[in-house]
């Protein structure tokens, strides 16, 4: 790698790791590099649903007992971290929050005690978020009703709408353009993830 700052060429350094940030190829190369991570977890921890979104792994065990779910999550985290270590990768446990979902509202009180505990995730603790957990831009609440997600999306859309209002008032935009801006900038924010609820 060689940096050029205002026509001054700096000393070059060899780069032994990494795929290019911003390249269209990198999001395809990365899954090839991490291929087998989900199979590794599946083989060692039974009964866990897992999926991945480029560099985000999602693990979903389902059981009738909360303690069993927590143990499964710990086992999954340990196995994932083990394989990632072998491939010189690290999970960002500081940003990770686990979640518990229960379809029935009656489960809520039963879960409340567990929601304040932590599970082991490598060298740190992963805490449970009792309100809603964020994954891929979606806020998932304990009963998967997505009310928290809808509220947050509406708040962001109203902010975008207000900013658009200021811009159009300042520059005297014609109504057709305002409508086009609204469709392009506000509606996608408001409707993100609306198919889930």
């Amino acid at each position: 790698m060689e940096m050029v700052i205002e026509s001054n060429v700096l000393q070059s350094h060899p780069v032994g790791a990494g795929v290019l940030l911003g390249s269209a190829v990198s999001p395809i190369l990365f899954p090839i590099h991490t291929a087998g991570l989900m199979n590794w977890v599946d083989e060692r921890v039974q009964g866990v649903g897992d999926l991945s979104f480029v560099a985000d792994l999602g693990l979903v065990p389902t059981r009738e007992d909360v303690n069993q779910v927590v143990r499964k999550l710990e086992a999954c985290a340990a196995e994932s971290i083990d394989l990632a270590d072998r491939r010189d990768l690290q999970f960002d446990t500081a940003k990770t929050e686990a979640a518990l979902f229960a379809p029935r509202k009656g489960h809520k009180m039963h879960l409340r005690q567990k929601l304040t505990t932590n599970i082991m995730g490598g060298d740190g603790l992963v805490r449970f978020n009792k309100d809603a957990t964020w994954w891929l831009g979606i806020w998932m609440d304990a009963h998967l009703l997505f009310k928290e997600h809808q509220n947050r999306c509406m708040k962001k859309a109203r902010t975008a709408e207000a900013q658009l209002h200021v811009l159009t008032r300042l520059h005297g935009t014609v109504p057709e353009q305002v409508r086009a801006f609204q469709v392009a900038c506000v509606q996608p924010v408001e409707r993100y993830g609306s198919k889930l609820s």
Partner: protein
């Protein structure tokens, strides 16, 4: 020119990976018709199995830290060779 060739190579990689089944069915992002919303919908489906109201599901999202800069080049090339990816594409990488 680099961006254009990158997009062409990305298309080739994507086509080859889908055709040969190199990527897992549970992998989303960077693939056609597999958006973040689809991934979230499948996670909800796994967490909320139909007809079983007594189950409790856990979810653990685990993001990889500094994912792209940490890819070991030698290991990536080895993985590509193991998957019998075309030599020209490996050399381009």
């Amino acid at each position: 020119m680099g961006k254009v060739s990158g997009k062409v190579v990305a298309e080739l990689f994507s086509f080859m990976a889908e055709r040969r089944g190199l990527l897992s069915d549970d992998l989303f992002g960077s693939r056609r018709k597999r958006s973040a919303i689809d991934a979230a919908a499948i996670m909800v489906d796994k967490a909320h199995p139909a007809g079983n109201e007594h189950n409790i599901a856990g979810a653990l999202p685990m993001p990889i830290k500094a994912a792209f800069p940490c890819v070991a080049r030698g290991r990536l090339i080895h993985a590509m060779e193991a998957k019998q990816i075309d030599g020209d594409l490996i050399r381009w990488t």
